[in-house]
Amino acid sequence: MSIQNILDVEFGTELPVFEPDTTLANVGAFARAVGWGGPRFESHEGARKEGFPGALVPGIMGMGFLVSAIHRWAPTGTVEHIDGVFRAPMIADTPAIISAVVTDIDEDEGLVELDMTVKNTKDETRVFGTARLRLPKA
């Protein structure tokens, strides 16, 4: 269900799961656009030479996935604050599963708090965090 205003939101609601594009080509394009191009984010072989298990997905790209998941759920909302903890590396060409749950609602202010995670297919948390979303009041 797409959320249009604060009255549509229920405490404890889980956002639809979002599986973003973590292919090496997509990750490399992101990295180059933010000025972080290089083997660490664009080449599995190059990243392994730096001691990583494979090309990394930048942590801030994980935050971008989280924001996109929110916008898909609430197209009229504005993400005012997002805080992500980079717990373990995300690896390109491996699935990332974005999930989120509503943890607080302030109907007077039109604010929603969310807890969010990025996990891999082994259910291991890669990134977790919180977000504050402002929605129309009605």
Binding site: A29, F30, G59, I60, M63, G64, F65, S68
Partner: protein, 147 residues
């Protein structure tokens, strides 16, 4: 062992870096698209409200992370996380300035030793000194044990 309170007294809340930026529309678009963004404000350059995504704003804080006279703590700083608070949209071509200071320093004791966390805060202003956004970077340093 480094005295955290002393580090705080010496370094917190003193601006140590200032950078000017003008964001490129095509790069903002690529970051939005590759992140899976669906909102036209982020994916349509011709949209009247086209603006940078929060993730893009986090990228502005890369580069020199610590004051030049900050002591070496032994380990290489790792990126422990980011946070961004958005107050106003930031648009391509708009002159902006990012001013950085250390916002917090704290430690946690782990099984393998002490970890020191440093929060570097970049405040992003427009040409009229209006605060547009705040981007926090959490650096984690595993303290080198003393011999």
């Amino acid at each position: 062992m480094v005295d955290i309170e002393e580090l705080k007294k010496q370094f917190l809340n003193a601006e140590f870096d200032s950078k000017n930026f003008e964001l490129d529309a095509e790069k903002l678009l690529v970051v939005a698209q590759t992140s899976g963004e669906t909102r036209a404000e982020f994916t349509d350059i011709t949209h009247a409200d086209f603006q940078a995504t929060p993730a893009f704003l986090c990228s502005l804080a890369s580069g020199r992370h610590l004051p030049i006279d900050f002591p070496s703590l032994g380990g290489i700083p790792m990126d422990g996380g980011k946070a961004v608070e958005c107050f106003k949209p930031i648009r391509p071509g708009q002159p902006i300035t990012g001013k950085s200071h250390l916002h917090d320093i704290y430690d946690k004791q782990g099984r393998s030793g002490r970890m020191i966390f440093i929060v570097v805060r970049m405040e992003i202003f427009d040409a009229q000194e209006v605060l547009l956004a705040i981007s926090d970077s959490r650096l984690v340093i595993r303290e080198k044990p003393t011999a």
